[in-house]
């Protein structure tokens, strides 16, 4: 009797596990379907695209789409610009997030709770409500000082450096939680030996947090790469960036094709090839450091400690 009960339980556990894996695989497919579609269409010929018989696997592999997309996107230039632009902004954001996170974790200053709530509120307020005055401020400022700001990365670098970049709140929380893990006795020992708070920050906080700095930098890099709203308002076409080039792909395609005098027609394959190129750097990054990204979000501590 007891044995029967046990086997029954085992069977139900097995079916349960099967159902679980089945659901997970299905959901994975839905997640990846757009990416698979991008990749499959990237390598299709223009005949395959309009052929309703061809759904996923192209009849013949063609690299033509990629070549055209590289040319239209001006890849060598835009890729370099995008990496530099996102990199600089990410460094600026990481720096400010580290300082702020350290302050929140280490010092008991008056009004700390208030500023913490303000940091959280920054995340909740939609960016679009802030952009009109920001734009007006920079336009007025550039007229006052007689130096062009709109159309250069300066406004965004300034904002990133002062902690108002994309998702700064999350970056600050990651740092704050990491610094909370470093025992305070280390600081105290350093202080007794005569170190000031900046030396404590640099030699204890930053030295121990190399991997956290990396995580925050990667997040900031990826978010700045994908951000197009603030960039579109302040940088405009001052720098040719990959994602903004992608959003203008349709019109760029026409102009490039008509100037070269060939008879290409814009189709899905070209668009998908361009999309593939613009996400490829991020996919590459993700394959190497995916664990770091997930750990980063886990360490924000917004789930309550």
């Amino acid at each position: 009797m007891k044995k029967m009960h046990l086997t029954k339980k085992k069977v139900s556990e097995k079916t349960m596990r099967f159902i679980f894996y089945f659901i997970l695989v299905c959901v994975s497919f839905v997640f990846l379907e757009p990416i698979f579609r991008i990749i499959s269409k990237t390598f299709m010929t223009s005949e395959d695209i309009i052929d309703p018989m061809v759904d996923w696997v192209p009849r013949s592999l063609s690299l033509n789409n990629l070549k055209v997309a590289v040319k239209v996107l001006k890849l060598s230039e835009t890729l370099k610009n995008s990496i530099l632009f996102s990199g600089v902004l990410a460094i600026a954001q990481t720096f400010c997030a580290a300082l702020t996170g350290f302050a929140l974790s280490r010092f008991n200053f008056t009004g700390k709770k208030f500023w913490f709530v303000m940091i959280l509120l920054c995340f909740v307020v939609p960016t679009s409500v802030l952009m009109v005055p920001r734009l007006m401020m920079f336009v007025t400022a550039q007229e006052k000082i007689g130096y062009t700001l709109i159309g250069t990365p300066i406004p965004q670098v300034l904002m990133a450096l002062l902690g108002q970049g994309v998702n700064s709140t999350i970056l600050i929380l990651i740092f704050q939680n990491f610094f909370n893990l470093i025992p305070k006795s280390l600081d105290e020992a350093a202080m007794i030996d005569g170190a000031g708070s900046f030396r404590v920050f640099w030699h204890i906080g930053m030295r121990l947090s190399f991997s956290t700095v990396l995580v925050v930098f990667l997040f900031a890099f990826v978010w700045n790469w994908n951000e197009t709203y603030v960039t579109g308002t302040l940088l405009r076409s001052g720098l040719q960036l990959l994602p903004s080039k992608l959003s203008l792909f349709d019109s760029e395609f026409e102009s490039v094709v008509s100037s070269s005098g060939s008879a290409f027609k814009l189709n899905e394959a070209y668009k998908m090839a361009a999309t593939f190129i613009s996400i490829a750097p991020l996919l590459l990054l993700y394959t190497f450091v995916q664990k770091k990204f997930i750990e980063g979000i886990e360490n924000t501590g917004i789930t309550g400690e």
Binding site: R17, F20, Y21, L24, S28, F31, P34, I35, R37, K41, I50, C96, L99, T100, A103, R106, F107, N108, F109, T110, M118, F123, V124, V125, P126, S128, V129, L130, M131, V132, P133, L135, M136, T140, M159, L162, G163, Q164, S197, N226, T228, Y229, P243, S244, L246, F249, E268, M272, A274, T275, S278, I279, L285, Q290, K291, F293, I294, I297, T303, G304
Partner: protein, 294 residues
């Protein structure tokens, strides 16, 4: 001789020193613009060669937005119709996935990696291109429509609106699921923190896993669900699937007089977003126990 400072004074000094860059940035680029937008929403802004010319317009912008303009109210309606079901689906689905991931042993990391991937590659232009091809695919492969599914048609015979909503959700399922990357990780993190002895105690009291889910897991996870709901509402607003967002972007581009109007739109929109988050807060708030004490 230097005067010695107290511990508290030193803490204050160092704390504010480290916070200083952020506080300056917050004041200049967030707090001031926020208040300025409210003020600007009552004005007309004209950009001239000499700078911006701001004239007081009273509530004219609001009257135009709500009664004269034909695009704003439908866009707001479209936003609400998008954000409420989407947020609901995202929170529920990400909880289910997290719950399942918590209960399997093999391939856990593999699935998590897949579900987190969209967080890295999701951007406005990529989303726009994907939605774009989806539409053309549907024209090409006509006949495959979710509205033909038997269950959806059954629902449609009761209420057309519910059926339309459901087809909409199924058609956008990939897009919706792409927003679950961070929520899943947060839910898993929250589930892992639940004390296992609570489950053991419940099992000893002969509760089945269904009861455990409703009586232990969900009540404990509620604060995290609130954080995730607010996070999702904030995220959903930032893409082209939000009609109000594209409207504001259009008006921002129109510098010859559109800025005051853009401010009005942005401000009304923000108010609605904050109200939605407030509503989420009320829904997830700890309820006072209804047991009467005699």
């Amino acid at each position: 001789m230097k005067k010695m400072k107290t511990w508290k004074q030193r803490q204050n000094r160092s704390g504010y020193l480290f916070m200083l860059p952020w506080i300056i940035g917050f004041a200049v680029f967030t707090a001031f613009p926020f208040i300025a937008t409210i003020a600007l929403s009552f004005t007309n802004v004209n950009s001239t060669i000499l700078g911006f010319e701001i004239t007081w317009a009273g509530i004219e912008n609001y009257i135009t937005a709500f009664f004269k303009n034909v695009e704003f109210v439908p866009a707001l309606g479209g936003y609400l119709k998008m954000v409420i079901p989407y947020t609901f689906v995202i929170v529920v689905v990400s909880f289910i996935i997290a719950y399942i991931l918590e209960h399997i042993v093999k391939l856990k990391g593999f699935f998590r990696t897949i579900y987190f991937l969209p967080v890295i590659i999701m951007s406005g232009p990529v989303m726009a291109k994907l939605l774009d091809t989806k539409v053309s695919d549907m024209q090409l492969f006509a006949g495959q429509s979710y509205s033909d599914i038997f269950i959806i048609q059954m629902i449609a015979s009761y209420s057309r609106k519910a059926a339309v909503l459901m087809t909409d959700i199924f058609e956008q399922l990939s897009t919706i699921l792409w927003f679950t990357g961070i929520p899943i990780v947060l839910f898993i993190n929250g589930l892992q923190k639940i004390n296992p002895s609570l489950y053991e105690a419940a099992k000893i009291d002969s509760a089945n896993s269904w009861q455990i889910l409703w009586k232990i897991t969900l009540p404990i996870i509620r604060p995290i669900a609130l954080v995730i709901t607010i996070f999702t509402i904030a995220q959903l607003g930032m893409y082209d699937i939000n009609p109000v967002y594209s409207l504001i972007v259009t008006y921002m581009g129109n510098t010859s007089g559109g800025l005051g109007f853009a401010a009005t739109y942005a401000w009304v929109y923000t108010l609605i977003v904050l109200l939605l988050m407030g509503a989420a807060f009320l829904i997830f708030k700890e309820r006072k126990s209804k047991v009467k004490h005699y």
